[in-house]
């Protein structure tokens, strides 16, 4: 596993740069991950990131865009505005959880 120094802390990341261990996450890392992909964190962004982390913890897997949208009452379109291009991948990257499997 490669390690990288983000915001002064050394953390383990996978080959795509995702945090290897979700428990290593903190808000400073989250802010830095967001900065790296050009996202400025608003209150709404934090609400979403916190939901992703809580849901990952309780369900054992990263929620899909559909689940995020229905659980938080945010239209999918808005998720694309908040995390342009690939919201599912980007929001899980910032939240320090594995990217959603989509499926198999």
């Amino acid at each position: 596993m490669p390690t990288t120094t983000i915001a002064g802390t050394q953390v383990e990341v996978n080959e795509e740069g995702f945090l290897s261990n979700p428990d290593d996450w903190n808000e400073t890392l989250g802010t830095e991950f967001a900065r790296l992909i050009g996202v400025e964190m608003s209150e709404e962004h934090w609400r979403l990131v916190k939901f992703l982390r809580e849901d990952y913890k309780s369900q054992g897997e990263t929620p899909t865009l559909r689940r995020v949208s229905t659980q938080l009452g945010l239209p999918v379109k808005q998720l694309f505005t908040m995390f342009p291009g690939k919201p599912a991948k980007k929001m899980s990257y910032v939240a320090g959880v594995p990217k959603p499997k989509g499926c198999v």
């Binding site: 865009l65 689940r67 379109k77 998720l79 694309f80 342009p84 690939k86 989509g102 499926c103 198999v104």
Partner: protein
Amino acid sequence: MTTATKKSLVVLGAGTAGTMVANKLRHRLNKTDWTITVVDKTDIHDYQPGYLFIPFGMNTPEQIRKTKHAYIGDGVDLVLAEVDRVDPEARSVALTDGRSLAYDYLVIASGTSPRPDQTPGMLGDEWHRSVGEFYTYDGAVALRDQLSAFTGGRLVVHITELPFKCPVAPLEFTFLADDYLRSRGLRDKTEIVFVTPLDGAFTKPVASKELGHILKERNVTVETDFMIESIDQERKVLVSYDEREVHYDQLVTIPLNMGADFVARSGLGDDLNYVPVDKHTMQSTEHPEIFALGDASNIPTSKAGSVAHFSVEIFVENFMELIAGKPMTHSFDGHANCFVESGGGKALLLDFNYDTEPLTGTFPLPKVGPMTLLKESRANHVGKLAFRHIYWNMLLPGRPLGLPPHMSMSGKIPADA
């Protein structure tokens, strides 16, 4: 023993999983102690893998359609009715015609269905015309007529969202369409585009690489990371959430798939109406007397007949232990075994489970085959075509096929991703 003290197993759905489980357990459960009731809304049983071949005239509609009752064994009650809801506290199933069925154990095997109503603009005047699909009998037949009238242009094969039934089918359709258009002298006049919400051709990295190569060889354009927002039938375009547009002359879409609505009404489903279960026993995480088999559950493997088949075998053994008051000792590994038609009379075979990526090697016998894993061969194609007979005559009646439900690593070699 009187009838009143008989135990009752109720199975919701008489598709692949429901039919198999009812027939297998009827052989194992004493008729004086157990009733088995299967509920389904129709008496039609389609061999669903055959839908793929209908648009190309490789299967006739009659070959894939039978009645359900003919495949339900003696001693199993088939009730043709729609389920209104399950009451897990009262252990009863309410039917929409007012009847209700009490159960000691319940198997939910109501599958997953395409839901074109969930994407704005998918249904409409052009549904089953320029907006085609092959996941229903009517859709497959309509697409056959559309393709036979096709004279060239942009043929777009599109996946709405995952998970959906038989995840390799859209690729197979693409390969077969390439073949079909070639044979009709239309391939040069047709651009084939494969549109997917994934970042590659398939969900499993190794297979995605192999299948991606074949798409490239066949000159198919792949549009990845495409999350559809709507279809504009007048302008003939797919519109994504990030405002990309893909034009089509003939669209072949795989609509969003969802589990049965009664699952949602009963409070038993997740966001897509799939029943959350333990992935090794298929037992509901909420109600220990409820199991979900086949496509109806949320287990993280392909929604496919092979998975239904292998998981039913595990379930039957566990169920016999459960009702004897013993712990369930059999564990499903997520084994899926999928033929992938690649056109030209050849097919690939994928074999994978929860933990193992598709392997190369031979199947079912180590080093002998006759089928090859993750590589095109004629034997695989022949195997796929022959499976229709095995399905009707051996699988549904619950006869053993001699294939172990667990994935074997013997004779198989991990491929490099």
